[in-house]
Structures are given as structure tokens and as C-alpha cells.
């Protein structure tokens, strides 16, 4: 979006007027006044990551002509990252899907919506009749709007009668979710982004915020500029742009986090640095099931059987985890561990832990989440302004949709689960259906869903708003299964992707401001936007597509909303789930005006910045201090979680650790950012980052072609040495955005036994000159 300076100044003035006028989004009066060129401005959250920047969208003649950071946006105050700057271009790629396509042999043939939907309905009906409702599934996304996720959950769980509903958030936030649930009894953080301004000590566990959370990182660094006391410590297996701006970098051996976090707790216990009264009042102790498998066999379904511990028993168990022990496993010197324990317990410091995929995409990801909470619970540095653990998310509505609406195989809205009879009853009541309609059986989690296709057990899968045939680990097994037409696969998307490639039906979707929607970001901020432009061609909203299937399957009555107030009516129904649960959402119209509100929204319409504290949370009475009111007995859990090795480690044949991740210029599988020529030019393809000494030993020079192979597959990449990221010796790193390089072929599909989240960060590979 090229703006002349004149345009830009004009737009800025318009934006200021917009903000001053209380920002009635798209109010006709204001819109016509917006500028003489007739550009109408509306507000929306950014389409990309979980930070939740607010943008202003300028529309003229039914087309987006400009986007820019919204100065009234509390998260970004008018800023964007480079992806957000080119937001509108993501919608205007030349190859937008504009009409349904049906597979005829090896060809995809143009079809009408009716033909496509009738075909889908007949396939779903046939599978359900023959093999039962659990033979069909839907695989969605943390980029689904609340409405899309809610429609999917209601149709599949309440109508079809299967819990085979999964989001791609299983691949990124599932471990965080289980961590929240088994520690605090409720999903999502107690803190918020304000902690990034108010704290003074930030310990990053496996998070490259500089690239994955760009605007948020800019906010964190500003705190450092203002306050000399601020210390940022980056604990990682790779030097990144985050490392570059951190005060201290602590390199760690992959999987070493389990050992290091335990050893920090050991020091805190050994030196009696814990907050005794906080622990007594707010914490209980448990030990989970250990030595669980890694999910490498199909249908493995390990269960956790927690045993309560006393504080003394816990202390006794923790005696073995000395810093010297941890040094051997994590590579972090014992002295450093002592130093970290001092930081975590320093009474003059406000300590925050931040983490993302390094922790969550981990075969013991839930454990690492638990172990981080342990430190905050032992020290009482939690639920205070400027002092919290904060799990960062990567998708715009991983929280708002996947987690809050509950588009997981075991979840229902607002922290409820299908296994719980009372939860099913409450859900059925709101939906006006027989509680027996909702199956108590947990559906297939993501990896099992794709494995079930390979086994021939899952007959129909509808994929919306995500690209699993590029993004799941051990990819070739699942691509082969799909290519062998083992299941009927429907893909709704806005562009051809590596997933539409294997589809039987491709449906063109509306994206972002081509429909009305609500997203929820990392800090529990719920943001709304209106539809501003028409989708291209015959493209339709994902909700419409699902309801059309519902009608054809005889479940149309589940969606009795009027056409005029469709979104409002659905929202008000969904909102019922949240009222009185501590996850309260506001009436729909409230969100028209605000740049998002952080739930629980209080009865006076105010948002909640910090949960579980009488300082801010209305669910905690004044004088009660901290109260984990969602946890059993109002007590959060400190878990005993020992060290366990990764699923696969390097050996002489495959001597390198293989780690995958994201970078600033592209988002996920780049189906959107890859259509922005500027971003494509800025970062054209995936590279393999190596340590210079490793490269030199193998005779690999910068930009040489290298072949990376694991036991599962291989890929040829360009070596990048001494670039933006520098893995530690014995590690290599690549990114997953490049659709021409299926780097997930190499990844192992081992997953956490509790969260079922795969480990994209650790498997063994070899590297050769190609």
C-alpha cells in the first residue's frame, strides 16, 4: 500500500478525528467526513499474529486502498510490523480462489456452491451412516473468527455428535493450555501486556520475541530504555535478534529447560528463598505420571494420574535436582542457575517469565509450563502488576477462538470439557439440545486425526483456514495418505496451498475484513471488526459454508440466527457460556467502539488487566489478596516434574539437532505473506542456519546448497551462516514458511502425552553439501 506523504498526513488527520470522535467504527457521518477522496476508515485487529495490533482499514469503491496502525490501539499505538504494513496486499494476490472446485480424477473442475456442498453433504452423510459420526472431522484454526469456531463446535459436537473438532492451535498452544488448566484450573494468563511496561526482569524461555512478536518486543525494549534496572535474559538454543537486544544470553542444550527449571526451584527450596505464607495459602502440590510414551505409535493414549504431595514431600523430591546435575543435562553452568534463582527470588525485582514455542512444542511441553509456574508460585511473584508468567501466543485468535470457544477435541466453550457431564448439560441447555447429543468421548487430536486418515478410519475431513499439509510434522506420511485418497478432504482457503493440492473439494473463503469477526489475543483482549468489503468472486465466509453443510445434514435448526443480526445473535448465545465463569465477555455492541477489552469484563463494563487478584479482578473480594478461584480449593498446583529425555537425540549418523520456527517477514506457511511481493523479496525462501564452526568442519560456506536429512525425509536448503540467527554448535535451524521446501518432512511426530502437541524443535538430522 503505497501512500504519498500527502495521503499519509491526511489519513493521520482522519485517524485522529476518528479516535477523538469515540471511534464509532464506520459511522457513516464520520466516514463521509473522513477525507475528500471518499475513503471510509474502519477498525480491525491485524490478521496475523497473536500480539493483536489494531489497524485502520481504508476502503474506497469496495476495495481496501490503505491500512495503517491504529493510533488508538492500546497494543500498538499506531505501529505495525512489516507484515501488518502490507496487510491489505495479502487479500489481493492474483491467484485468489473465487469459485468452488471439485476433483475429477487428477483435475480440479469448477463447480457451483450447490454442487460442492451437496457433494460434501453426501460424503459426510454416507460416512456417518456407515461408520458413525466419529468417522468425520473438522480441522480449523486459531485464525478462525469466534463465529467460525463456534459454528464448527456447535455443528460437530452438538449436531453431528462427534468431538472430532481440532484447531491448528494444537500445534502451538496446546501445552500452554494444559499447563494453565492443571495449574490454575482455567485457561489463559493472569497477566497482560502491561507487565511488559511495569516489570524490570524478563526471563525468556524459548521465545524469539524480536521476530515472532515484533510490536510487543518493541514495547518490551522501550521499558528497558526507560528503566536502567530492566534486565532481559534470553535462554535459548540459538542466538537470535532477541538475543542481540537482551542483557544476557544463556545457551541451553535442547530439552535442558526441564533440568534448569527444576534446579532453579531446588536452589529456591534449598536456600529457603520461597514465600512461605504465599505457598501455604495458595498452593497445593502434586506429582504426575512419569515415563509416559512420546506418541510415536498410533492410538497411544497415556493418562495422567496425579498424586497429592505435601510441601515436605515435594522438598524432599526436589533435593536431587542440584544445579550441578542440571549443568550436565542443560549445559547451563551451575553458577548461572544459582544466579537465575537469585533473580527469581530477588525481592527488589519484578520478575516475568515469557515463553512461546520453545516451551510448548516440546515432548514435555506441559511440564515445562508447569515448572515455570512453579517458580512464580514458590516466590509469590504472580498476579501482581508487572510481575507474572506470560505465555505468548502466535495466532490472532488462538486464545479467542481455539481456546475460549473450545475448538479442541476435548473442549467446550469457557474452560468446559466434553468428559464432564455437568459441562455437557450446561452446553446442551444453551444450545437447546438433548445433552445425550454431545458425546462424552474425546475426539481425535490433530496428530491422531491425520493418522486416522492414513489408517483409513477417518473418512471425511474439512480443513478451514489452515494449511496442515505443509505444517504438520512427519509430513510425508500424511501427504501420502491424502494423495492416496484415503479420505474425502475439503479445504476452505483463500489461495491455492499445499493443502488444496490434496483436496477433493476446494472452497473459496472470505478473509479478514471481507466478513465480520472477532479475534482474541494473548492478553485476553477481545477485538471486533465489521465487514468492510465483499469477498472476491463467489468466495463465502467459513461460517456460511458450515451452516450450509448443517442444513444439508439436517442440523440447520442449530443456527436460528436472523440474517440481519446474525453475528450479534450468535455472540449473545456464545456469551452465555462465559457469564459468571470468570471469563465474562461483554455485550456485542460494546466491542464496536473499543479497541478490544480484556476479559473478564466486569458488570460495570470495565476490563480486567490482572486475574485472581483483588487489585483488579472483580471475582476476588477486596482484602482477599490473591485467590485462584478457578482452581480446586482455590489453590494453584505446584507439580513435581522431573527431567525426561527427548523423543529423538542426535547420534553419529544424525549428529545435529533440528529446530524449526518463524521469522518476521512471513507468517506461518506464507499463504498470505507469500503473496506480498515486498515480503517475498525481503525473504524469498527458507535457509538452514548453522553454527560457523559446524559449517567449516563440513566444508560448507555461506549460501552453499546443503541437504538436510532425518530418518523421515530430506530437503535441500541454502546455508545461512552468521546471519540473523546463529544456532549453538550441534544445532541447525530452519523456517517453515516456504511452500517449496517441505521442511516438516524431517520433523518427528512425537508429541507431549498430556497436550498432544508435537515437538517441532527437536529431532536428529545430518547435513551434507548438496
Amino acid at each position: 500500500m503505497e501512500l504519498t506523504r500527502r495521503d499519509f498526513l491526511k489519513a493521520s488527520a482522519a485517524a485522529a478525528a476518528f479516535a477523538a470522535a469515540g471511534a464509532q467504527a464506520l459511522a457513516p457521518r464520520l466516514a463521509s467526513a473522513a477525507d475528500d477522496k471518499g475513503i471510509k476508515w474502519g477498525k480491525a485487529p491485524c490478521r496475523y499474529c497473536g500480539v493483536g495490533c489494531c489497524v485502520l482499514v481504508g476502503v474506497k469503491d469496495g476495495k481496501i486502498v490503505a491500512t495503517k496502525g491504529d493510533p488508538a490501539g492500546p497494543v500498538n499505538k499506531g505501529l505495525n510490523c512489516i507484515k501488518g504494513y502490507f496487510l491489505s496486499k495479502a487479500l489481493y494476490g492474483k491467484d485468489r480462489l473465487t469459485h468452488p472446485l471439485i476433483r475429477k480424477g487428477n483435475k480440479m473442475v469448477k463447480a457451483s456452491w450447490d454442487e460442492a456442498l451437496n457433494l460434501i453433504a453426501s460424503k459426510y452423510k454416507e460416512a456417518i451412516a456407515r461408520s458413525g459420526p466419529d468417522s468425520v472431522a473438522i480441522y480449523g484454526s486459531g485464525q478462525w473468527t469466534v463465529f467460525e469456531g463456534y459454528t464448527a463446535v456447535k455443528l460437530f459436537k452438538g449436531g453431528i455428535g462427534t468431538n472430532n473438532v481440532e484447531p491448528n492451535a494444537r500445534l502451538c498452544m496446546a501445552s500452554a493450555v494444559v499447563g494453565f488448566m492443571n495449574t490454575f484450573g482455567s485457561d489463559e494468563p493472569m497477566g497482560c501486556y502491561d507487565d511488559l511496561d511495569l516489570g524490570d526482569t524478563y526471563i525468556l524461555w524459548g521465545a524469539n520475541m524480536a521476530e515472532a512478536h515484533p510490536v510487543l518486543f518493541s514495547r518490551l525494549i522501550d521499558n528497558k530504555l526507560k528503566n536502567k534496572k530492566v534486565k532481559i535474559i534470553d535462554i535459548a538454543t540459538r542466538r537470535t535478534r532477541t538475543t542481540q537486544m537482551a542483557d544476557e544470553y544463556i545457551p541451553m542444550v535442547p530439552q535442558g529447560d526441564l533440568a534448569a527449571l527444576n534446579a532453579i526451584a531446588h536452589v529456591i527450596l534449598r536456600d529457603k528463598l520461597y514465600d512461605e505464607s504465599f505457598v501455604k495459602q495458595h498452593v497445593s502440590f502434586k506429582r504426575g505420571t512419569e515415563n509416559q510414551p512420546y506418541g510415536l505409535k498410533d492410538k497411544e493414549n497415556p493418562k495422567e494420574e496425579p498424586k497429592p504431595l505435601t510441601f515436605d514431600e515435594y522438598k524432599q523430591l526436589m533435593k536431587q535436582f542440584t544445579p550441578e546435575w542440571a549443568e550436565k543435562l542443560s549445559g547451563i553452568p551451575a553458577k548461572k542457575i544459582e544466579h537465575l534463582a537469585q533473580l527469581y527470588t530477588d525481592k527488589s525485582r519484578k520478575v516475568n517469565s515469557l515463553w512461546t514455542m520453545g516451551v510448548n512444542q516440546h515432548v514435555r511441553g506441559v511440564w515445562v509450563n508447569n515448572l515455570i509456574y512453579n517458580l512464580h508460585l514458590l516466590t509469590g511473584k504472580i498476579c501482581k502488576p508487572g510481575e507474572n508468567p506470560l505465555s505468548l501466543t502466535g495466532q490472532p485468535s488462538a486464545c479467542g477462538t481455539a481456546r475460549e470457544v473450545g475448538t479442541f477435541a476435548h473442549r467446550l466453550p469457557a474452560d468446559m470439557v466434553v468428559m464432564n457431564e455437568a459441562h455437557r448439560k450446561k452446553t446442551a441447555e444453551i444450545w437447546g439440545i438433548d445433552p445425550r447429543k454431545i458425546s462424552p468421548k474425546v475426539g481425535l487430536h490433530t496428530m491422531e486425526m491425520f493418522r486416522a486418515i492414513d489408517r483409513g478410519e477417518l473418512k471425511c475431513l474439512w480443513i478451514q483456514c489452515t494449511n496442515p499439509f505443509q505444517s504438520i510434522p512427519n509430513l510425508s506420511r500424511y501427504r501420502k495418505a491424502a494423495q492416496a485418497r484415503k479420505a474425502f478432504i475439503v479445504v476452505s482457503d483463500i489461495y491455492p496451498t499445499r493443502s488444496t493440492e490434496v483436496a477433493d473439494v476446494i472452497l473459496p473463503s472470505a478473509s479478514w475484513v471481507e466478513k465480520e469477526g472477532v479475534f482474541g489475543n494473548t492478553e485476553r483482549r477481545t477485538q471486533h471488526w465489521f465487514k468492510m468489503i465483499e469477498p472476491p468472486g463467489e468466495a463465502k465466509e467459513d461460517t456460511w459454508q458450515l451452516i450450509e453443510l448443517a442444513k444439508r445434514l439436517g442440523h440447520g435448526n442449530l443456527f436460528p440466527y436472523s440474517q440481519k443480526n446474525f453475528h450479534k445473535e450468535m455472540w449473545e448465545e456464545y456469551r452465555k457460556f462465559t457469564i459468571g465463569t470468570g471469563k465474562d465477555l461483554a455485550p456485542y455492541e460494546t466491542y464496536y467502539k473499543v479497541r478490544g477489552l480484556r476479559w473478564p469484563v466486569k458488570s460495570n463494563g470495565q476490563e480486567t488487566r490482572w486475574r485472581y487478584t483483588d487489585a483488579d479482578d472483580a471475582y476476588v473480594k477486596k482484602g482477599e489478596g490473591v485467590k485462584f478461584y478457578k482452581a480446586p480449593g482455590n489453590k494453584a498446583t505446584i507439580w513435581f516434574r522431573p527431567y525426561e529425555p527427548p523423543a529423538e537425540s542426535p547420534n553419529s549418523e544424525y549428529p545435529f539437532w533440528y529446530c524449526t520456527g518463524r521469522l518476521l517477514e512471513h507468517w506461518h506457511t506464507a499463504t498470505m505473506t507469500g503473496r506480498v511481493p515486498e515480503l517475498k523479496r525481503a525473504m524469498p525462501g527458507a535457509t538452514l542456519e548453522m553454527h560457523p564452526e559446524d559449517a567449516a568442519r563440513l566444508g560448507i560456506k555461506n549460501r552453499d546448497k546443503v541437504k538436510v536429512s532425518s530418518r523421515r525425509g530430506s530437503v535441500v536448503l541454502i546455508a545461512e551462516i552468521n546471519g540473523r540467527g546463529k544456532p549453538e554448535k550441534g544445532n541447525v535451524f530452519t523456517t517453515f514458511f516456504d511452500e517449496t521446501k517441505l521442511i516438516n518432512d524431517l520433523c518427528i511426530d512425537a508429541f507431549d502425552p498430556l497436550s498432544k502437541e508435537p515437538d517441532f524443535k527437536k529431532c536428529a538430522v545430518k547435513v551434507e553439501k548438496a
Binding site: Y85, L664, M683, R703
Partner: protein, 220 residues
């Protein structure tokens, strides 16, 4: 200079003639450099020569226009100048916005040069000095405006050396950081990758001619 050796195909006589002609060429070319060389798309006022190129007047005299450097370039970054280059017609240069120099560690272009126009004494890419990057439009630079761009920095082959990021408080938002890319001329090789990857329609960072080092520099 040993450009009179047989393998260059230039006889001593021809070379001497060339040397006499050089000042004349330069005088005439001076105007041409400012007028013709200033192509609107480049706006840099000089030709970006391949790594190891000797000083421009000597380069023009030494280069035999054989195209071997261009042949050796695996990225086809080196192109031969057309008629618009005046006396420089047929000499190799790089248009970074199209294809910059990717700094091959073994410098194949230098190795391929038969004439000494590309100096074979150059063996380390970090010592290449083709030109230097300059932010030519600070107002247009998204990073300087507070956005999280810094594409030039992250793509710089000498990241944290030739380009570093200087953080300063963003007074406009009050709670963010302006992460400004700062170019260090003593480290910048002038490869032009930053110019290539700049996301603006007209790149706000571009390679310009290196100015000869000033002697009265001040260090702090």
C-alpha cells in the same frame, strides 16, 4: 599493474596508448558520469562495480570487457553496461535492486578476471569495498518511523557489523522503541543486498560511492 602480460590480450603498446587516452577519457567522461550514469532508477551517480574493482578511472582502462566475471557469477548479479555507459560500454557492473552481489566466499568473479581490473589480492569478502549503503530517505524508512521492519538489517550479510540497530524511545507512542538501522561505512562492503530487499517501492537504503577516507576523523 601487470595488465601488459600476454594473457590479457593487451599489448604494451596498446596499453600505453590507453594510458595516454585515459586523462582525456576522464575529462570527457566526467560529464558523462554525472549526466549519463545518473539513471533515474539508480540515482546513485556511479556504477557499482564487482568486488575487487580497482579505482574507477584505472578500472575503465584495465577492464577488457571480456565478461568473464559476469560468467563466473552464480547469481548473474554482474551485467555488462550498455551504450548509456559511454566509455564504460561493455564494462561489468551490478544493479543491486535487480540482483545484488551475494558475496560468494571464494569470489569467483575476481578469480575469473584476466585483466586485473578486479584485484586478485582481494580474497576475503569482508574486505570488499564496492560502495557503501546509505539511508537516502530517512522519512521514508519504516523502521525510523517506528514500525518493526529492519529488513535491511536482518538480510545484511554483515549483520551487526555493517548494519546495527540503535534503539531509541518512540515519543509518538510513548511506549515503543524505534529500532533504527545504522550503517557503518568502515564495515559495509556495498553488496547492495539491503537495497534489493528494502520493502519500499523506491528503496530508502541504497549503495552509494565510497568517499575517500577523511584524515581528520574524530573517534569517540
Amino acid at each position: 599493474m601487470d595488465s601488459d602480460t600476454t594473457n590479457t590480450g593487451i599489448s604494451r603498446r596498446l596499453f600505453l596508448k590507453g594510458s595516454i587516452l585515459t586523462p582525456l577519457t576522464l575529462a570527457l567522461g566526467g560529464a558523462a558520469i554525472s549526466a549519463v550514469y545518473l539513471r533515474p532508477t539508480q540515482a546513485r551517480g556511479f556504477y557499482l562495480r564487482p568486488p575487487g574493482a580497482i579505482e574507477e578511472p584505472r578500472f575503465l582502462a584495465a577492464c577488457v570487457k571480456c565478461g568473464k566475471c559476469a560468467q563466473a557469477c552464480p547469481y548473474q548479479s554482474i551485467v555488462m553496461a550498455g551504450g548509456e555507459a559511454g566509455v564504460g560500454i561493455g564494462t561489468p557492473h551490478i544493479i543491486p535492486r535487480e540482483t545484488p552481489c551475494y558475496l560468494c566466499p571464494d569470489l569467483p568473479c575476481v578469480k575469473a578476471c584476466p585483466s586485473g581490473a578486479l584485484d586478485k589480492q582481494l580474497t576475503e569478502v569482508e574486505k570488499v569495498r564496492m560502495g557503501t549503503a546509505v539511508i537516502i530517505d530517512r522519512e521514508g524508512c519504516l523502521s525510523i518511523r517506528g514500525l518493526r521492519c529492519e529488513v535491511c538489517y536482518r538480510q545484511c550479510p554483515l549483520i551487526d557489523k555493517a548494519i546495527t540497530i540503535e534503539n531509541r524511545h518512540n515519543t509518538r507512542t510513548g511506549e515503543h522503541t524505534i529500532m533504527e538501522p545504522v550503517i557503518h561505512k568502515d564495515k559495509c562492503v556495498g553488496c547492495g543486498i539491503c537495497e534489493k530487499v528494502c520493502v519500499r517501492e523506491k528503496p530508502v537504503i541504497a549503495v552509494q560511492q565510497r568517499v575517500t577516507e577523511q584524515k581528520d576523523f574524530y573517534e569517540f
